[in-house]
Amino acid sequence: MFDVCVIGSGAGAAPVVYELARAGFRVVVLEKGPYFTTDDFRKDEMACCRRDAYASSYLEEPQVIETPSGNGWEAVSTAVSGASFWNGNCVGGSSNLMSGYFHRMKPIDFRLLSEFGPVEKAAVADWPITYDDLEPYYTRCEHLIGISGKVVPYRWQEPRSTADFPYPPLEENIVSGWIDAAARRLGVAVIPTPRAILSRPAAGRNSCYYSNYCGSYGCASDAKGGARAALIEPALRTGRVDLRPLSHVFALESDGRHRVRRAWYFDAGGKRRSVAARIFVVACQAIETVRLLRISRNKEYPDGIGNGSGQLGRHLIFSAGGSGFGTFDYDALPAAARQALDRRGVFVNRSAVEWYVFDDPDTGRPIKGGIIDFLFAHDNPIRKALQQKWDGDRLVIGSELKRRLMAAFRGQRRLRFEVFVDWMPHADCYVDISRTVKDKWGLPVAKIRTGAHPHDLKVGRFLVQRAQEILRETGARDVTGHVSSYPPSNLQAGGCRFGTDPRTSVLDPWCRVHEADNLYVTDGSFMPTGGSVPYTWTIYANAFRVADAIRERL
C-alpha cells in the first residue's frame, strides 16, 4: 500500500508529490496522459497547436459545452464542433505549455464579499483562509518553481515576506520601455510582469534561451517552471515516487466509513487496475476533478463523492476579460528602433495594475477591477497566416492572399494586451455529467455550462478601454480591443469550493473533502473566487500548503 495516491500530475498535484516524496513517503501518481520528456517538446506548431499532440483528443474524449442560445442553452459535444476544451494532458499537465505570467492574488481577493458586498445574481464568497496563510507558500514557489521579476511599489502591491524575487527579470524588447514611458505620461501604474521562467540556471534547470515560442509550447531548456520540470522530476529522483502515465482513473472506491480505499484506472492497454493508499489526492484540473468525483458514485455516495449537499460542480469559474492589439509599422520607425522592435525571443513583460480596484462610473463606489498584461502577438506562423484567409465572409485566395501574407509578416509587429478580471461564480456556470455522450472508455463525459455574468463584462469593458489608451500612447496604430464572454479553457477553477460549512462547500479549509476523511483536492477547484490574475501561482501555493497539512497528518 502507498502512503499517498495522487491523481493528476500538473500544478495542483506536483507540490504534493514533491513534498511528500521528499519527506520520505511512498507516492503513486496516476496520470491520464503520456510522459513527454523535455526532449519531446520541440518548436513545432504542427504538434503543439495544429494537431494538439500534447492534449487529449476531442474525438476520443469529447466534452459537452453549453453556451447561451436564445433564452436557453445549446449543448454541443466538442467531437461535433471540433472546438477542443482540453489544454495539456501529459505528465506535468498544462503547466508544460503555460506562458507563466505569474501574479499573486491580493489580500482583498480573499474577502471579496466583505470588501465589496454582494453582486446581484452572483455567488461571491470570502475564502476561509487569508492572504497571510498563503504568503509563505507564494514565496516558496518563487524559489522552487523559479519566478523572475522585480518588485515595484504601487498602490495595490501585496505584502511580501521577502524584499524581491530570487531571479532577476528576463531580457526585454525595446517596446517595454515605450510602455513605461506611455504609463508615466498617463500617470498609471505599470510593473514588470513576474514570470515563472528562470533568468539564470538553478536546481539543474537551464535558464531561458529566448526561443520566441513559449506559451503553447513546452520548454526545451526547463527554464519554464512547469510542474514536470520543477517538481515531478526532482521528486522522481528521490526513488519514492511510482509515476504511472497513461493511467486513466475512472472511480474512487470507498469503504463505507467515509474513507477512500482504492483508485481504479485503465492502463495503457485498457486493462482495469487499482491501487490502494492511505491518502488520496485528486488534481485533474477543475472540470475533470468534478467529473471523477461525480462518476465515483456508489451506495455510500449516491450522487458522487463530496456531493452530499449538491455543491459539487457548482461555482465553476474561469478568468474573465478581453484582449486586443495595436500595430507598429516598421516603415514608420527609425532604422535602429525597427531593428530593436524586430528582435525576437525577448519579452514585453509589462502589466498595468492601476485598476486592481477602481470607482464604478455608474455608482461612484469602488469595485474590483483587474490587470492588463502586455505581450507580443504570438509568432506561430500558421495561425498568423490563417488570420489572413478571410475578408469578412469572403475567402481570400490567389495573389491577393500572398500580398496579405507579405504585409502581415514583413511590415509590422503587433503588441497585444490581455485583460484579467474576476469571473463571478453564479448559477449558470457549472460542471455536470452528460447523460448521452461517452468517451472512448465508455465513461460519461463532463458537461460544462459556460454562462458569463454581466458584471464581469462591464469590468472587462472598463479595463479593455484603459488598455487601448495605453497602447495608443505608445504610438501603436489601429488599436482594437474586445471583451469576451467565452471561457478560456486553460484558466479554469472552482467546482469544489472550500469553506467551513459543509452545506455550502465541498472541501474544508485544508482542501479535504468534508464527507471523506482521507480525500483531498489540490487543483484550482477549491477556489471560491479567482482574483483577477491567472491562477497557476495560487494553485501551486495552495497545493504546497495542503501538502504541509498532509505531511503532518501522515
Binding site: 525576437r344 484567409k389 469572403r394 475567402l395 448521452t436
Partner: protein, 184 residues
C-alpha cells in the same frame, strides 16, 4: 445533442456523402494512395489557383502542397471526417463544374477554373476554406512534414525559426503514438 459530427460537417454545405472507411485506410489501384490520379490532378490545379506562381514568393508546387495533402489524408491520427470532406470536396467540385460549366473541372480553360473558385471563395465555401488551410500549413509548418521545402515559406515571410526543431524521434506522429501507449 441532436447533431452527429458528420451531420454537422454536412450542414456546412461541404460534404456530399461520407463513406465509413477512413480515407487513410483506403488505397486506390492507380496510386496506392488516398487519392485517384484524377483527384490528385484536380487538387493540384486548385492549389495552384489558391497559391499561384505570380513572381511573388513560392507557389503551391514549390511548397509541395499536393504531397502535403496526401500526408494529411494518410494521417491515422487526424479527424477522419475532415479527411473525407477534403476528398469528397474534390469530387463535388467536378460535379459542380459539370453542372455550371458543362465540363469536368480540369477540362475547363484556366480563367473559367479561376472564376469557379472565385465564386466559391465569395461564398466562403467550406471545402475551399479547408484547402486554403492545407496550403498555409504546407507553406509554414516544419519541413519535416513534407511542405515548406527548403524552408521556402519561412524564408519568403521572414519567419523567425524556433529551436529545437522536430526530428524523426519527436515528430507529431511519434508523439501521438506515445499518447496511445504505442498503439495507432
Amino acid at each position: 445533442m441532436s447533431l452527429t459530427r458528420r451531420e454537422f460537417l454536412k450542414g456546412t454545405g461541404a460534404v456530399v456523402l461520407l463513406s465509413s472507411v477512413p480515407v487513410w485506410m483506403r488505397c486506390t489501384e492507380e496510386t496506392a494512395g488516398p487519392l485517384s490520379k484524377h483527384q490528385a490532378a484536380v487538387a493540384r490545379r486548385v492549389f495552384r489557383i489558391i497559391f499561384p506562381d505570380d513572381g511573388m514568393g513560392p507557389d503551391a508546387e514549390r511548397i509541395n502542397a499536393p504531397a502535403f495533402l496526401e500526408w494529411i489524408l494518410r494521417d491515422p491520427f487526424y479527424d477522419p471526417d475532415i479527411q473525407q470532406m477534403l476528398v469528397q470536396g474534390i469530387d463535388a467540385l467536378d460535379a459542380h463544374a459539370r453542372s455550371v460549366m458543362g465540363a469536368d473541372f480540369l477540362s475547363l480553360e484556366a480563367h473559367r477554373q479561376e472564376a469557379l473558385l472565385d465564386e466559391m471563395a465569395a461564398r466562403g465555401h467550406r471545402w475551399l476554406s479547408r484547402m486554403v488551410t492545407v496550403v498555409l500549413e504546407a507553406l509554414l509548418s516544419d519541413p519535416i512534414y513534407g511542405g515548406n521545402v527548403h524552408k521556402a515559406g519561412w524564408q519568403w515571410l521572414g519567419h523567425y525559426e524556433g529551436r529545437p526543431r522536430p526530428d524523426e524521434r519527436t515528430r507529431y506522429e511519434v508523439l501521438m503514438r506515445k499518447r496511445r501507449g504505442g498503439h495507432v
